[in-house]
Every structure is written in structure tokens, then in C-alpha cells.
């Protein structure tokens, strides 16, 4: 493979950021203007939201279980096992629920979007759509963006809930903590700011998953090999973005709510 000189590499990266920004901007703008493809939106909500529920529930549940087990072991040394509920609830709602759900949905759907749109690109279906008078961003990207942001919000709530439930199950059956104590501590520790912070993150993650997945799909070149490359890039870039943006949002929320 030939080496790119620094200037060409920098130009390529800047052009990539510009193309991504234009795509994301146009997708958002298309949500606010007609025509809207409602059937496409419902179909994507079903595929992204309902389709991702099994992995989100499983991930959330076992994360809650492991968290309870690890926390209880550590808290035992300080005689604070009864604080397990609060620790699990705070960890799930503020951090693990939103981030893990974002990463799982990214792995499942950013890859799906990149491969679907990438296949359409290399078989000229995107060009055919344009030739038939349809804006591919309006028809393909905007519905995926809306569906991902909307459904990821609710998937995160489900993940948080089953994570806390998983923690409760482990706490009562393996650790011997009373159910009421676990729930009461969880309820006491969770504050309004924690819930807002946790619920803000999926809005950003959903945006990242849809726009990154569609961006890599629509810029696919090079046949089936290119589709594979686009799929991998979409998952890697969206996962890294989710974690970076999680840090930034967390810092912002600490600035707003103070904890």
C-alpha cells in the first residue's frame, strides 16, 4: 500500500469531517421538512428498537448482577453491604446503562446501517434512487436517525430497569440482603440530576450511531470488500465516539447538577 503524504492525509481527514457534518446536518434538517417517510420510520423503529431488545435486556440484566456481586464483596469490608442497592442503581442509571446500551446498539445497528447502505451504494441503488427523484438522505438517513434516537432512549430505560432488577436478584438470593433494603437504598440514592444525566446520554449516542453508520455506508466504494470495511469502520468509530461523548456529557452534567 503506498504511503500518503501528510498533506494528502490531512486533506482527506478534513474532507471526511466536512462530509460527515453535511450529512448529519441535512439529515436533521430533513426531519423538520416534508416529505417524511413514516412507513420507513416505523420500520426502522421496529428493527432498531424492538430488534435490539433481547441483547439490551441480557446485557443490562447481567451487568446489574455482576455489579451487585462485586459491590457487595467490596462493601462487606467496610460493613456497608446494605449500600449495594444505591451503588448498583447509581452505576446503572448514570453510566453503565446508557453506555453499554449505546455500545450494544452500535454493534448491532451501526454495522447494519453501514452494510445495508453500503450494499445499496456499490450496486448503484443509491444512484438509482437519486435518478428516480428521491433524496437518499431524506429517505434512508433521516428515518434511521429519528428511529435510533427515539428508541435508544427507551432501550436505555429498559436496560437501567433490568440492571437494577438483576442487582436485586443477586442481592437477595446470593448476598442475603432484604429486598426492601435494596430497593429503599436504590430509591434514596438516585437523585433527579442522576436520572437526567443518564437519560441525556442516549440522545447523543443515538445520533452518533445513526449518522456514523449511514455516513460510512453512503461513502462505501470498492464492492463487497468495501462494504466489509465500511461496516467495521462504522462500529469502531461510533463506539469510540460514544465513549468520548459520554465523558463530555458527564462533565457537562456534573457542571450543571454538581454531582
Amino acid at each position: 500500500m503506498p504511503f500518503l503524504n501528510i498533506e494528502s492525509f490531512a486533506k482527506k481527514q478534513v474532507a471526511g469531517v466536512q462530509d460527515y457534518s453535511l450529512l448529519a446536518g441535512r439529515a436533521v434538517a430533513n426531519l423538520f421538512t416534508a416529505p417524511r417517510y413514516w412507513s420507513e420510520i416505523w420500520s426502522q423503529m421496529d428493527s432498531i428498537g424492538v430488534g435490539s431488545m433481547p441483547i439490551v435486556i441480557l446485557t443490562g440484566f447481567f451487568t446489574g448482577c455482576v455489579l451487585a456481586l462485586q459491590s457487595a464483596t467490596a462493601l462487606k469490608e467496610f460493613g456497608a453491604v446494605n449500600k449495594t442497592g444505591g451503588l448498583v442503581a447509581l452505576s446503572m442509571v448514570k453510566e453503565l446503562g446508557p453506555v453499554l446500551t449505546g455500545l450494544m446498539v452500535s454493534g448491532r445497528n451501526a454495522s447494519g446501517m453501514a452494510s445495508e447502505l453500503g450494499s445499496m451504494k456499490v450496486t448503484e441503488q443509491i444512484d438509482a434512487m437519486r435518478a428516480l427523484g428521491t433524496d437518499p438522505i431524506r429517505k434512508l438517513v433521516a428515518p434511521r436517525l429519528f428511529a435510533t434516537v427515539f428508541m435508544l432512549f427507551f432501550l436505555t430505560i429498559i436496560s437501567d430497569a433490568v440492571g437494577i432488577a438483576g442487582g436485586a436478584l443477586v442481592s437477595t438470593t446470593l448476598i442475603g440482603l432484604p429486598w426492601s433494603s435494596y430497593i429503599a437504598d436504590s430509591y434514596d440514592k438516585l437523585l433527579y440530576g442522576d436520572v437526567v444525566a443518564g437519560m441525556t446520554k442516549p440522545l447523543f449516542s443515538g445520533f452518533i450511531i445513526a449518522t456514523v453508520g449511514c455516513y460510512f455506508g453512503l461513502k462505501t466504494t470498492g464492492g463487497t470488500q468495501g462494504v466489509g470495511k465500511a461496516t467495521t469502520e462504522a462500529v469502531v468509530v461510533s463506539s469510540v465516539f460514544i465513549i468520548v461523548v459520554d465523558f463530555l456529557v458527564t462533565r457537562l452534567m456534573i457542571g450543571i447538577f454538581g454531582s
Partner: protein, 275 residues
């Protein structure tokens, strides 16, 4: 077939349907088309020939505004598309039908939904759209495949569905990008017959890319007989007057003219290419 709502030819009645002037385009520093100029008048069929990789498909995408030239101007129906944005192009594309090299049918849609795609986008009532789809599929002799999906069709059938999708709104210009590419000779002849039928029945202006010289000469020397419903040679060795040829090599035009001018060409490269 349904006629497009706005008569585009009324806007610039004397202008050529396609007018390329000094068009150049390149990708990643490599010139693909260099200083291309040609015109296609109303009712003409321009056959574009040339070796693989000489820029034929790029030229076709430029004509439909799917690519923008680096320099030069492109006018379609007298309107300069090189200065239009995507939204303005959508209006113009209502009058252009395009058949893609690999058909480019939507995998997730049935044949009926593929052919009716543009009608559905225009929110045409379902019954009316269905009637037009059946009419278009009958034209390409594929009415029995209406409920099938692209994956269930052969290469030739996919190409015919693609033609039905392109002609369903009775466009004023049809762009055929290698419609016989990758097909066996018998299926190719079927596709060429459909193109001749469309040309002689609707007199639509068209640009056609092919790398099969025999297909190009079949188009120039045959006509559609409405009585028999088949293509036949033009009597007395006649040649279709509306057929023009454009030959590209390494991104430049090496020939532009009528069928007679092409067969009489003394250019050694052209003679070797046609041989």
C-alpha cells in the same frame, strides 16, 4: 405510459436535448473525461462506444446530474444542470429515465414496487399505479413477474424490469448504461429489440452505452414492426436516420457522427476497434 406532468420541451423548444460543452472530470488526480463536447437533438439515439474504462458510464452519470463536472457546461433540455443543486435536479429528473449497468433494482421491493417507485413517490393512487405498472411490464413482456422479487429474476429479466421502471413515466430522455452488458447474445437481442421498440413507438431521445458493436449496428439497421410486434431489418439495407455514434477512447472523443460516417471512417484506431 403516463406522460410527465410538465412538458419540459416547451421551456426551450429549439435547444438540443443533451448539450455537453468542454466537459472534463477526474477522480483522485486522474482525468477520466477530457474536454468532451457533443449534442443530442430531439428524437435522436446517440450510441456511445469505447473500450472498458474510457469514461462512458461517468459521461452517463454526468448527463443525469449524478456527478458534477470539474469544468465545462452540461445542458439538458436547454437547462444548465452543472449549475443546479440536488433539489433542482429532482425536478428535471422527472423527465429522464435511466437504465443502470447492473439494473440497480431495489432488493427489498417487488417488481411491481420497483417499477412503480416513481409513481408511489408522486402519491399516485394504488389502482392507477398498478394499471401503469402492468402496462409497462407488458411492454417489456414481463407481466407474469409482477409479484416476484429481484433476487428471483435472471440477469435479462432484471434488465427488462429496469427498462420498465425507466419508461413508466414516459420520459423525454432515456439513458441506457450498458443495457446488454454481461448478457448472453440471445438475451442481448431481446433487450436491443425493446430499445428499438421504445425508440420507434415513443420516439424518445436516448443515450445508449454499449461495448457490443453488433448491438450498436442492430440498433442502427433495424426498425420495430408494429404489425408483427417484432424488430426487423430496415428494407433495402436502410439505416435509421436518428441514430448517431460517439466513440470515446482514454477520456476523449475520437469519433462523432452518423452510421455511414462511422463505417466509412479511415481512422486506423476506429477501424481496428470496429474490426
Amino acid at each position: 405510459m403516463a406522460k410527465s406532468a410538465r412538458p419540459i420541451e416547451d421551456l426551450h423548444p429549439d435547444a438540443p436535448v443533451v448539450d455537453f460543452a468542454n466537459v472534463s472530470i477526474g477522480f483522485e488526480g486522474k482525468h477520466v473525461l477530457k474536454d468532451i463536447s457533443f449534442r443530442v437533438e430531439r428524437g435522436q439515439t446517440m450510441i456511445i462506444l469505447g473500450p472498458a474504462g474510457c469514461g462512458k458510464s461517468v459521461l452517463m452519470k454526468l448527463a443525469n446530474g449524478l456527478l458534477s463536472p470539474d469544468s465545462g457546461t452540461i445542458k439538458i433540455f436547454g437547462q444548465e444542470i452543472s449549475a443546479m443543486d440536488e433539489r433542482q435536479m429532482f425536478g428535471l429528473r422527472e423527465h429522464i429515465g435511466m437504465v443502470f449497468q447492473e439494473s440497480a433494482l431495489f432488493d427489498s421491493l417487488s417488481v411491481e414496487d420497483n417499477v412503480a417507485y416513481r409513481l408511489h413517490e408522486e402519491h399516485m393512487p394504488e389502482d392507477e399505479a398498478h394499471t401503469k405498472v402492468v402496462e409497462a411490464l407488458k411492454f417489456v413482456e414481463l407481466a407474469a413477474a409482477i409479484a416476484k422479487f429481484p433476487s428471483e429474476l435472471s440477469g435479462g429479466m432484471r434488465r427488462r424490469v429496469s427498462i420498465a421502471r425507466a419508461i413508466i413515466t414516459a420520459p423525454d430522455l432515456i439513458l441506457y448504461d450498458s443495457p446488454t452488458g454481461g448478457l448472453d447474445p440471445i438475451t442481448s437481442t431481446t433487450i436491443v429489440e425493446l430499445i428499438v421498440k421504445q425508440r420507434d413507438v415513443s420516439h424518445t431521445t436516448s443515450l445508449l452505452i454499449t461495448h457490443r458493436i453488433q448491438d450498436a449496428f442492430t440498433l442502427a439497421t433495424h426498425q420495430f414492426n408494429k404489425a408483427t410486434g417484432h424488430m426487423e431489418p430496415i428494407p433495402n439495407g436502410g439505416i435509421d436516420d436518428s441514430t448517431r455514434f460517439l466513440i470515446l477512447n482514454e477520456g476523449s472523443i475520437v469519433f462523432r457522427g452518423s452510421t455511414q460516417e462511422l463505417v466509412r471512417s479511415e481512422d486506423p484506431w476506429i477501424r481496428e476497434y470496429l474490426a
